[in-house]
Structures are given as structure tokens and as C-alpha cells.
């Protein structure tokens, strides 16, 4: 029973992190039909921005608690700026291209941004560990958890709820869903699709950077962290169904819980489990769990 509860907590903590990483990716695909490989770079930029700020902030001996607002703000700012530059500088020139071409374009952007992060931050590791330990610990069935990780569950649920509310209960969200459903009709109805695209891509990038920023305190921020994460995020959104926020949430929970079970019971299959779950879901529902059948346009 103790082990089961610990598996559940581990699974939910990991799922919440996965959802934060995958949320922006699925949003951008849902609205723009772009499988944004550069999402990993946004994660890295968020992590580096936060780590740089934390390093400076704590060396300056300011009030520790205030650091949370600022380093999260720094990560978001990094994501917004990078997202805006990528959308205005590259993607807008490629709209209308085939989805496969867009994957290649964003992959190119990922590689470029990898080098840009190296130019800005170098190859040495950055640390931002102070906020991680500041929140203390909690014991669950005799096992100690970092409160920072437990609070991330709350952040993840909040982000998911805001995304759901924004898409389903606001005027702008309805306009966004109209664009998702039919871009041409939306334009004909007077929706500014270009503006919608800019906002969506910047929001998606900011979410990626937020995930990176929030993860930075538990990590050594090193080159390549963005590339590692994109494969995992891709698995999560594919399980849930590309473009579905609810799907990303369920995909994250499925992967997180399955992985935690594997780590505690059969650690040697931990890596296989993530992609095993993906293969199993796709064999039953090839377009993912939450993608409904759509009428073919003639």
C-alpha cells in the first residue's frame, strides 16, 4: 500500500512536469497545424533565462522568496521574445506549406537556437538550485518529497485549467477554435488569423519556456536539454491526440504513472514503457485518444 501511494505521487509529479512541457506543443499544433520541433529550444531558453537570473539574484543576497516571481517572469519573457522572433522571422514566411515542410523548418530553427543558446550562455552548466530547496520537504509514507515538486502539480493543474477556460469559455478562445476548425471560413468571417497565429505561437513558446524555467532549479542546465525533451513531449501529445489540451493532460498522466510503476517494479523497462504506452494507444486509436473523427472536405 505504501509503495502504491509513493508510485502515485511519483507518477503525478512526473505527469505534471510532462504536461507543462507538452501543453505549448499541442496548442501550437492544434491552432496552426505546425508540429513545432523548436519547442525544445523554448524549453532550453526558459531554463537558461531562469538559471541566469537565479544565479545573479542569489549572489546579490536579495529576499529569497521573491525570486520565484522573477525567475518565472524571466523564463516567460525569454519564451515570448524567442517565440515572437521565430514566428515573425521564419514561420510567417512559410505559412501554407505542407506539414512535413513545417516540421523540417522548425527542426532547422531548433538547431539554430541550440547554437544561439551556446553563443549566449556557453557550454558550462548553469545552476538555479536555491528555489528548489527553499520550499522544504513533505513526508509521504516515510518517503520525503521536495515541496517544490508537489507545488508543480498545482502549477500544472492551473495552467491546464486556464488553457481549457481560455479556449472554451472566452470570446478569443472561441475565435481560436474557429480557426482550428476552418481557417478559411474564419478569415471570411472577419477573424484576424495572422494575429491569432502570432498570439498562439508566442503563447506556446512561453509555455515551453515556463516549463524549462520551472524545471531549472532541479537540474544542471546544460546544452542539449531542449533536444532531449522534445521527444518526450512528442510522445505525450501523440498519445493524447495532436492538438488536444485534454489529450496532452491524459497522455501525461498515462506516461507518468506507467513510468513510475516501471521504475518501482521493473526498472529495466522504464524507457520502453513510455514508448510502449504510445505504441499501444496508437494501435487502438491511430490519431490519439482525444482526436475525434472529422468530416473530409471536398
Amino acid at each position: 500500500m505504501d509503495t502504491l501511494l509513493v508510485i502515485l505521487v511519483d507518477g503525478i509529479v512526473y505527469s505534471s512536469w510532462l504536461f507543462l512541457v507538452a501543453a505549448g506543443l499541442t496548442l501550437v499544433y492544434g491552432v496552426m497545424k505546425i508540429l513545432n520541433m523548436a519547442h525544445g529550444s523554448m524549453y532550453a531558453i526558459g531554463a537558461y533565462s531562469a538559471a541566469s537570473f537565479v544565479g545573479w539574484y542569489f549572489s546579490a543576497d536579495y529576499v529569497p522568496w521573491a525570486s520565484y516571481f522573477f525567475f518565472i517572469g524571466c523564463a516567460l519573457a525569454g519564451g515570448v521574445i524567442a517565440g515572437l522572433l521565430v514566428e515573425r522571422g521564419v514561420l510567417r514566411l512559410m505559412y501554407g506549406s505542407d506539414e512535413v515542410v513545417m516540421i523540417l523548418v522548425t527542426y532547422g530553427v531548433l538547431l539554430i537556437l541550440e547554437d544561439v543558446t551556446k553563443l549566449i550562455w556557453g557550454v558550462d552548466a548553469y545552476f538555479a538550485y536555491q528555489p528548489y530547496g527553499l520550499l522544504g520537504r513533505t513526508k509521504v509514507m516515510g518517503i520525503t518529497f521536495a515541496n517544490y515538486d508537489l507545488y508543480l502539480i498545482g502549477v500544472s493543474v492551473t495552467v491546464g485549467a486556464l488553457m481549457w477556460y481560455g479556449l472554451n469559455r472566452t470570446r478569443n478562445g472561441k475565435m481560436l477554435r474557429a480557426v482550428i476548425h476552418d481557417r478559411e471560413i474564419s478569415m471570411a468571417m472577419g477573424i484576424n488569423v495572422t494575429r491569432t497565429f502570432i498570439i498562439t505561437f508566442v503563447l506556446g513558446s512561453a509555455l515551453g519556456a515556463l516549463a524549462g524555467g520551472l524545471t531549472a532549479p532541479a537540474l544542471s542546465v546544460v546544452p542539449g536539454i531542449g533536444i532531449e525533451i522534445i521527444i518526450l513531449a512528442f510522445a505525450v501529445v501523440v498519445i493524447g491526440g495532436l492538438g488536444s489540451v485534454e489529450g496532452a493532460a491524459v497522455g501525461a498522466i498515462l506516461v507518468g504513472i506507467s513510468r513510475a510503476i516501471a521504475v518501482h517494479t521493473f526498472p529495466e523497462i522504464e524507457l520502453f514503457v513510455i514508448y510502449g504506452v504510445m505504441a499501444l494507444v496508437l494501435s487502438v486509436r491511430p490519431r490519439g485518444l482525444f482526436v475525434t473523427a472529422t468530416a473530409r472536405k471536398i
Binding site: Y132, T215, S220, V263, H264
Partner: protein
């Protein structure tokens, strides 16, 4: 008239074309080799990008820059106080090791055939070493591996052109097992968390086998193998805490090791349990405030904080710290060791002769060589004189007084942690670590 102009242009074009061809051929390997006996060109291959760049690649590249510059100025302490290598100025061609074995084979061929280097020093990844060794043999190019750890290089093959001045990974695990049993003779339970690829599995298998040989009643309570660069180890840490071993072994390196330290410390993983980090020395200064007191740290040899007191070590520590504002970690020591080994071999080969010694002469001098390094005396004793052995050292991290250091340091003689020549590491461990001197 028109025809004549056209013909003239063709002649002009052909003349220019052949001039370029002539120049290109003329500046090729053979002419350069014949032309310049005043330079000794070394290809330096190390990670300049990717996850291994920060902890390993950059310190080794920094050390290469510092050592080559100082040797060229003739300002190294004795016995390396002569200028360059055998009077020749050392020139370095630096290459990024990132990209995997296939890319590295291409880069290696480029270094040997186009850049016409006299020797190649490099390779941190064991996969890269395994890919490069047969190519070096095929191209008959002198190659020195400075860091990669797999014992398979010389245990499964016999190479003439390949040397390794760094130590094998076997000694990390064997010495770790000996050290932890010396510290905890009543040890009952151990667990492992290692990366899910060859390095992690080999390290754990060697450690587990050594522990079982030295104290058969020790129980392994869990073995965790997360993916390399996974970053998040929450579930693994919980699993380790649930099984509650006395000792946790990890050969994690770089960002993965640092992530494990950060997350493990925040959750109290190392409270009441002793961690053994076989590459932990690279993080002891950067993460001094987060590294748990008493953690057993390895430096993959007598490097870094474990280097003995001598003039070469004093020089390296002082000059490296002065230039790069951080003390040299073990990759810096290992790169320095490779360059000094090469200098010793070339100078031995060049003694009493004129001009640059041939590759064959350098190889003859390098085999079974003994040379001095900041880490002490290095003996090329294994692999028919191509593989270095040295003592192995472990100690426990301490941050008493806010000054990171090591305590309870124990040194194991080379013969105590290395198999005798001709026996593979696995066989040696399985047969009970016999034929060793551990006095």
C-alpha cells in the same frame, strides 16, 4: 578574331585550373610532412558541445591550451622544461567530439589525411574510442586516447598505433567496492543508479561483481537504469528510498550526476545512506553547497583533488586556476597527462637523432614507457605496453568551514585495482580479483 579570343580564354582557364591543382597537390600531406620539421602538429579531439562539453570537454580543452602554450614557451617544470616537443613547436588542431562515432571517424580521417597531424590526442566517449581505434590502425596514425574508459579497447584487440594514457573504467568500480568495504566492513545492502547505456551498465556490473567477490553476503536491493540525459529522477529517488540501502552507487556523469545530487539532496536521499559518485569530483566545487557531506567521490584516477603533491601538480593547479578561475578537474589532468606522455615518447625517440622521429620510432619509445605527470608516475603496462596504469584513489566529500575538500582519502596501488596483462577485467573480477597487491 573571336575564335582566337575564345581559345585564349580556354588556355587561360586551363592554366589557372592546373595551377590550383598543382598548388593543392603541392600543399598536400606529403609535401607538408617533408617541409616542416620545426612543428609537431597534434589533433585535439574533445567535446565542445553537447552535455559532455561543460564537465569534460571544456576543462580538457582548457588544459590542452594551457599545457601546449607553456611547453612551447619552455616554462613547464622539470622534466618537461625543454621547449615544445623535441624542440619542435606544438600546434593544435582542435575538433569537436560531438556527433557520434560515424562523424568522428570522418573527422579523424580529415585530421590525418588533410590536416596531416603527427598525432591525435582525444576522445572522451568509449563509443568513439571503439570506433576510432581500428581506423587509427588502418591509417597507421599515432593516436592517444586520453579519457574514454572501456577496457575493451586493449582487452579485445591488440593495437600498434593506439595508446591510452588514461585509466580504464574497471578501476573505478573495483576501487569503489574496495573503498566502501574498507569504510563499512559490515555492509549489508547496496543499490545502484546508473545510466541506461554501455557505460552505466558496465560500471554497475563491475561494481556489483567486485562487491559480491569481496563480501558475498551483501544484498543488492535495487538497480535503477534511467535514460542518459533524463534529467528527472524523482521516481528513481523514491525507489531507492523505499529500498533503503546503506550505499548507493552511481557512475552518472555531467549534468545527470549534478541533477541527481540536486534532487537527491533536496529530498534527503543521502541522509543515512552513503552515495558513491565515481565521477563526482567534477562537481565538488560547483555544487559544494549541495553535495552531501560524506559522499564518496571518484576522479577516475589520482587526479584533481586526489593528485599527489609534486611540482607538476602545483604548476597545473596554480596556472589553471589563475587562467580559468576554477581549479582543474580530472579531465584537465587527463589531457595534461596525454600531452606529457606524447612529449616523453617523442623525445625518447628523438634522442641522439636529427629531425622528427618517425611514427614507428615514437611507438617503440611509447610502449612500456614510464613518465611523470601531475598525477604522479604513469606506467604504460597493460595492452602490451599501450595502456596506462596508476593508483586509484577515493575519498569522502567534506565542506567543513565552507571549503570543499575530501577526507578519509585512501589510495590503492595500481596492481590492486587493475587486472594483470592478458586477463580481461570481467574474468579477473569473476575469478575473485586474484593476483593483486593491495598492501
Amino acid at each position: 578574331m573571336v575564335k582566337s579570343n575564345s581559345f585564349g580564354r580556354r588556355v587561360q582557364f586551363l592554366a589557372i585550373f592546373f595551377s590550383f591543382v598543382f598548388l593543392a597537390v603541392g600543399s598536400g600531406p606529403n609535401s607538408a610532412q617533408a617541409a616542416d620539421d620545426s612543428k609537431f602538429t597534434v589533433g585535439v579531439v574533445t567535446f565542445l558541445s553537447g552535455g559532455a562539453a561543460g564537465p569534460f570537454g571544456v576543462p580538457s580543452k582548457n588544459a590542452a591550451d594551457l599545457v601546449i602554450e607553456t611547453l612551447n614557451e619552455g616554462k613547464m617544470p622539470a622534466p618537461y622544461d625543454s621547449k615544445g616537443i623535441a624542440g619542435m613547436t606544438i600546434e593544435a588542431e582542435v575538433v569537436d567530439e560531438a556527433g557520434g562515432g560515424t562523424k568522428q571517424v570522418g573527422e579523424y580521417r580529415n585530421l590525418v589525411q588533410r590536416k596531416n597531424v603527427d598525432a591525435v590526442i582525444g576522445y572522451i566517449s568509449s563509443g568513439d574510442c571503439l570506433a576510432i581505434a581500428p581506423v587509427a590502425e588502418e591509417m597507421q596514425a599515432l593516436t592517444i586516447f586520453f579519457d574514454c574508459g572501456t577496457p575493451r579497447i586493449f582487452e579485445e584487440n591488440s593495437y600498434k598505433y593506439v595508446f591510452r594514457t588514461g585509466l580504464t573504467a574497471t578501476i573505478d568500480s573495483v576501487a569503489a567496492a574496495r573503498y566502501i568495504l574498507d569504510q563499512k566492513p559490515d555492509l549489508k545492502t547496496v543499490a545502484g543508479i546508473n545510466q541506461n547505456y554501455a557505460w552505466g551498465h558496465d560500471s554497475w556490473n563491475d561494481f556489483e561483481a567486485s562487491i559480491k567477490v569481496l563480501k558475498p553476503d551483501v544484498e543488492v536491493v535495487t538497480e535503477q537504469f534511467p535514460k542518459i540525459y533524463a534529467g528527472q529522477y524523482g521516481a528513481e529517488i523514491s525507489a531507492l528510498m523505499l529500498k533503503d540501502p546503506e550505499v548507493i552507487h552511481s557512475s552518472f556523469w555531467g549534468g545527470d550526476m549534478e541533477g541527481l545530487v540536486l534532487q537527491g539532496s533536496a529530498r534527503g536521499l543521502f541522509e543515512g545512506r552513503t552515495g558513491i559518485l565515481t565521477t563526482g569530483e567534477t562537481a565538488m566545487f560547483r555544487l559544494a553547497s549541495e553535495m552531501p557531506e560524506g559522499t564518496v567521490l571518484g576522479a577516475r584516477g589520482p587526479f584533481g583533488v586526489y593528485a599527489p603533491s609534486n611540482d607538476l601538480n602545483d604548476w597545473l593547479r596554480t596556472e589553471y586556476t589563475k587562467r580559468y578561475d576554477t581549479p582543474p578537474t580530472y579531465p584537465a589532468y587527463k589531457m595534461t597527462q596525454a600531452i606529457l606522455g606524447l612529449k616523453s615518447a617523442v623525445e625518447k625517440a628523438a634522442k641522439g637523432k636529427e629531425g622528427k622521429p618517425s611514427t614507428e620510432e615514437i611507438i617503440a619509445a611509447f610502449e612500456n614507457l614510464e613518465f611523470e605527470a601531475p598525477s604522479g608516475t604513469v606506467r604504460m603496462s597493460l595492452g602490451k605496453g599501450h595502456q596506462a596504469i596508476q593508483e586509484m584513489v577515493y575519498g569522502q566529500f567534506t565542506n567543513e568551514g565552507g571549503k570543499p575538500g575530501v577526507k578519509n582519502v585512501k589510495r590503492y596501488p595500481a596492481e590492486c585495482v587493475n587486472p594483470p596483462d592478458g586477463i580481461t577485467s570481467v574474468e579477473w573480477i569473476q575469478k575473485g580479483l586474484k593476483q593483486t597487491e593491495c598492501k
